[in-house]
Amino acid sequence: MSGTNTSHSPTNHTSTIGAIGAPSRRNTELALLVFAVVIPVFAYANVGLALHDSVPPGLLSYGLGLGLLAGVGHLVVRKFAPYADPLMLPLATLLNGLGLVAIWRLDQSELLQSIQQAGTAAPRQLLYTALGMALFVAVMIFLKDHRTLQRYTYISMAGALFLLLLPLVPGLGKNIYGAKIWIQVGSFSIQPGEFAKIVLAIFFAGYLMVKRDALALASRRFMGLYLPRGRDLGPILVVWMVSILILVFETDLGTSLLFFGMFVIMLYVATERTSWIVFGLMMSAVGAVGVASFEPHIQQRVDAWLDPMREFTLSRANQPGHSEQAMQALWSFGSGGTLGTGWGQGHSELIRFAANSDFILATFGEELGLAGLMALLMLYALIVERGVRTALAARDPFGKLLAIGLSGAFALQVFVVAGGVMGLIPLTGMTMPFLAYGGSSVIANWALIGILLRISDTARRPAPAAPANPDAEMTQVVRP
């Protein structure tokens, strides 16, 4: 924290002072982790008391499980990334823990059990969390330096495309409520888009690092904007096409918005050219409006956003292709009011389908109220802030680009999901990172946190002790 964003600047201090250096802040992380485990444990007890008038029998094992995962995470960070950002792990743990509580709370709903939307989701989510933590540990141990990822730029591109196209493979892809973003492997549904997000960020970062000068400098000025050359426009068009294809074939507005937004952010950071943002916004607007005009699934989402009450009425009249979810989510938020009903005392199960995944935010809104939901959003804001800070502190352009790409995508995802559930923008089929039920999301986001921690460790790590260099001595003498 202190001095991290300036440590690379030679005008402020010398490398020798840096060596005494930034504290590792590992004990801060440990202290925060205690809160991140204790708060969900209290929440869990609270749900049990509200629903069954007794402390839930699984309280101890749940607390120990979450504590164990957090402890392992902490020890691995302490060992392999001692200078990593101290806030991210506790924040992710807290969100993950609260998500588990909300999922368990919805598991208790007889209504959701009767339509097989919940019942045994919480133990599975705990398993996914463990898997996510395992991937996090693997990233910490095996990714010694994030710059090694740079080597896999083009493999990443191929990998990302592969992941994105997987749901379109006949027999493998699965259509759930209109969006084809899942694949079915055995009894597990996997959302490859969540993993593609990270892989794509690696590709963009590697590619843009190499091409940034060409993209930034070789341009013509036109009406006050710097227009890129045709051949430099190639990649942005490719990404745009891919986004549109996802939108058309997988009818997934959220993912395509997310990828395109992430690319525009990274492009802008790499080239420092505002014109790219103008281009990006124009192209996403053209793409979204174009596709929405002929894709009924997207149209229905837009209609539901514009008039959720009408959508509710149509759904109640048994008109096919309509859903009352949007209105139910709004009632859920409204019924929560300022302070909420308290854990376990709301009726967010009325949302029915995807109540514990895409719509889990409604449960938080209803039961923790405006106050609780704002606090929750601030937790997300803090993760994004730590990510951006890591990008600022990173010393290498690849690290900067990767960090801003990942945290920008994280922010966009939070906005798209929360905005969709709260009726600010049309609903999309994405899930709230860490909170929502879903293996892919939890596992991928733990990997994302792992990579960000690795970058921040590299950024905050004191530079190696300067060699006995007479020039350095001289500099030190000259400067006051």
């Binding site: 509710f312 009632w331 009011g337 600022l392 945290s407």
Partner: protein, 492 residues
């Protein structure tokens, strides 16, 4: 690269800020509206989350609550003697919402009313479950039973309303055929939905869910002659019950060549008001209406409560006395035909105003709202609605109505040892009077001190009866007598 990074940071901050603003919008600004939206299932979940408070008659609840399972509604409403009390309680159904008192006093009955806020907060702190309060009604169980059983024995469609003339308290409010609100109080599609469907008018031509006492208007027929008589006395057209009136028989309606007929061979030529009311002379009262004119008749009808909805607090339809009629239409209206139409409540109000020496009290059926701990929250005070006629004229009219029962068409309403005043009515309706007439009877009973404990209006519509058999005196008066007797007995 740091300058664009900072800008992206601001952009991300704006995204979060937008979410926070939106959150405040839906969870603070719009929260109340969303929370209380009638389509928001939480509203009915809350309604049935705890046992509902009771609706009370004579200190005993006529409602109850039963715990249910297999639904997000915990408790179901039950009713004692449901069909008898349905016109009073209305229904509270998990599947079909609530009506009448169940709906109007829902806040008290569920315990969600703001006036219970302090108590609820206290309960929350002490860990007690929220409870519903009670609604104490003005009704009299014995009178209601007499009214409902009378209609039931009669077998045809009909209604009875009994009022306490000095306060406006509703003592009986019966409608027949009726329905049992228990039968569809739950939310099972087959059982409750089926029962509900069977009661709908399209499936049941008798329309059992219609609250005839408050929501059906009938031509009042000759019972309206009491209003016409009151108008004549108040205007000074005639000042005594026993002076001859200027009434030819047959009388040809002004502006027409049509004779207004009397029923049967009765002494109506220049009859006194007393005799005219006793024999129910159309010629006398038709001419009075025509002589007074539309405006004066309308004015008197309005003073009795016509042309205005009444809120008891359950809404009663407005009874009708028309405006801008020509003299012959006014004449017909003044004997309760043509456009004139009245709810049973309205005609009970007419009888009660006469019985209460000219003062019309606002009819009401909710006496008191109680908190769950039976502390009173709100008590309804009797309220004077208007004074259609002076005390002297009211007493003249009383003596006329008492003659109707002593010697005239209303003799079936006589009660031993009690002075009873009344008026029969047989109202024709349908094109060319082709349908069966309605049998009306309005009356009041009087204590020895001259005050009146009860006024009643009874209407019976009987599709099966032979037309000649239907007359207010024959079908409706015995029911009125039983209701009045029940009230008098319960007072002792």
């Amino acid at each position: 690269m740091n300058k664009p990074l900072r800008r992206i940071a601001i952009f991300c901050g704006l995204l979060i800020l937008t979410l926070l603003i939106r959150d405040n919008w839906i969870q603070y600004v719009q929260a109340e509206e969303l929370r209380t939206d009638k389509n928001n299932r939480r509203v009915i979940i809350a309604r049935y989350a705890s046992p509902r408070g009771d609706i009370i008659v004579n200190g005993k609840p006529i409602t109850g609550s039963a715990e249910t399972s297999g639904s997000d509604f915990k408790f179901k409403r039950t009713y004692k003697d449901g069909p008898m009390w349905a016109p009073v309680t209305g229904y509270a159904s998990q599947a079909f919402g609530a009506s009448q008192i169940e709906n109007l006093e829902d806040g008290i009955l569920t315990g969600n009313d703001d006036r219970l806020f302090f108590r609820n907060t206290l309960d929350m702190l002490t860990g007690k479950k929220q409870q519903g309060g009670n609604v104490v009604t003005t009704l009299n169980a014995a009178a209601q039973k007499a009214a409902y059983n009378g209609l039931k024995r009669q077998g045809g469609k009909g209604s009875v309303v009994a009022l306490d003339p000095s306060t406006g308290k509703i003592l009986a409010l019966a409608s027949y055929p009726s329905y049992d609100p228990s039968s569809f109080a739950g939310n099972s599609t087959s059982k409750d939905g089926g029962a509900w469907n069977k009661l709908q008018k399209k499936n049941n031509p008798d329309d059992p869910m219609l609250n005839r006492a408050l929501r059906e208007t009938y031509p009042p027929g000759s019972t309206f002659k009491v209003v016409t008589a009151a108008a004549a006395l108040e205007d000074g057209l005639y000042t005594s019950a026993d002076a001859k009136t200027d009434s030819p028989d047959p009388w040809i309606m002004k502006g027409t060549t049509t004779k207004l007929p009397n029923e049967g061979n009765i002494p109506c030529e220049n009859a006194t008001l007393r005799v005219a009311l006793q024999y129910s002379c159309n010629t006398v009262f038709g001419k009075i209406g025509s002589d007074l004119g539309n405006d004066k008749m309308l004015d008197m009808a309005k003073k009795f409560g016509f042309d205005e909805e009444q809120f008891t607090p359950v809404r009663a339809n407005a009874s009708v006395f028309s405006d801008k009629m020509n003299p012959s239409q006014t004449a017909l209206s003044s004997i309760g035909q043509f456009n004139t139409a009245a709810t049973p409540l309205q005609m009970a109000m007419v009888a009660s105003a006469v019985a209460n020496d000219g003062k019309l009290m606002k009819p009401y059926m909710v006496d008191e709202l109680q908190s769950p701990g039976v502390d009173p929250i709100e008590k309804t005070d009797p309220e004077e609605l208007s004074q259609p006629l002076s005390a002297e004229n009211a007493q003249i009219l009383q003596s006329m109505m008492e003659t109707v029962v002593d010697k005239g068409t209303g003799s079936n309403a006589k009660i031993d040892g009690v002075k009873v005043g009344g008026k029969t009515g047989t109202a024709q309706h349908g094109v060319d009077n082709s349908e069966n007439p309605y049998a009306w009877f309005i009356s009041y009973a009087k204590d020895e001190d001259g005050s009146s404990p009860v006024a009643v209006a009874v209407v019976v519509e009987d599709d099966n009866a032979v037309r000649d058999d239907i007359s207010g005196g024959g079908l409706a008066a015995p029911i009125a007598r039983n209701v009045m007797e029940a009230v008098i007995k319960s007072k002792k």
